[in-house]
């Protein structure tokens, strides 16, 4: 098999594997995948406004609002109106929410890290370098998307958005 084909198959395996882990952690915590994503983001970033949260996980504000409604009802997150700018709504994990996230959710990373730490130093560097390569190729692909595709469909898609 070609190297390129191998790479694609492996990528798909990685994606799928990660996806299934997300589902597993979700069911273990009693959260849906989007809810889990919100919780993880909050754990990492601490306090965020609803809008920042939406941007971070690439969903509409409306969608995030409804997700937060349910998490708030479960008392896993708390909303607090900004005192300075009263339009803003600051969202954070409650103690209960932080507790929940302390348990299962890290396991995904933990087990990966345990394996990762087991391999040789040079191999770690190799893996990182390769992932950088792949990320770049995928990312370039995203930034390039419109010009190359040009399926003649509707929009022209200006690609000014850069991130990393």
């Amino acid at each position: 098999m070609e190297n390129s084909q191998k790479a694609l198959v492996l990528l798909r395996q990685i994606i799928r594997s990660t996806d299934m882990q997300v589902k597993e952690i979700s069911s273990r915590t009693g959260l849906t995948p989007p809810q889990l994503m919100v919780m993880q983001t909050l754990r990492e970033s601490g306090q965020l406004t609803s809008g920042e949260l939406a941007k971070e996980i690439v969903l509409t504000q409306a969608t995030v609002t409804s997700i937060l409604d349910r998490l708030e009802k479960k008392e896993l997150v708390a909303r607090e109106r900004g005192t300075n700018d009263k339009r803003k709504v600051w969202v954070s994990l409650t103690d209960e929410g932080a507790d929940l996230m302390k348990g299962a959710p890290t396991t995904q990373q933990d087990i990966f890290l345990r394996h990762f730490d087991d391999i040789q130093d040079w191999e770690q560097s190799m893996v990182v370098a390769s992932l950088e390569r792949v990320a770049f190729m995928l990312n370039a692909q995203h930034l390039n998307a419109a010009p190359v595709l040009d399926i003649g469909q509707l929009d022209r898609e200006q690609n000014e958005d850069l991130e990393i």
Copy 2:
């Protein structure tokens, strides 16, 4: 930053990038992500029964049924009752559906491949080896989490190639 942390961040980038590409292709083809996944699977595997399809994309039959309902209404897939075993329902792309999938959907791979082909041979090998490493680490992690996965399935899936 630690190698392991770098690896995790990169992995997340890769996942996110892929996710956004899926969304992009979806909106371009006028399909939802799950619908796209069904279409892609059908394009690859040709004719499948509803149940095989569900297993392949890891969703319930009930869910697949409703997705197929909509794809059938758009005349992108066709359902045909099995003549031999009349319980089975064979699903396949219509000409229209195949046409739609001929356009954008492959581009994801195409652009990646173009970049991939550009890099040196030794680097390709390195990337593949690294992805194998990562896939293994993620996989082991998954197998750890869900101890035993239904042995009955393995019997039935002797013809299946890459399933984890």
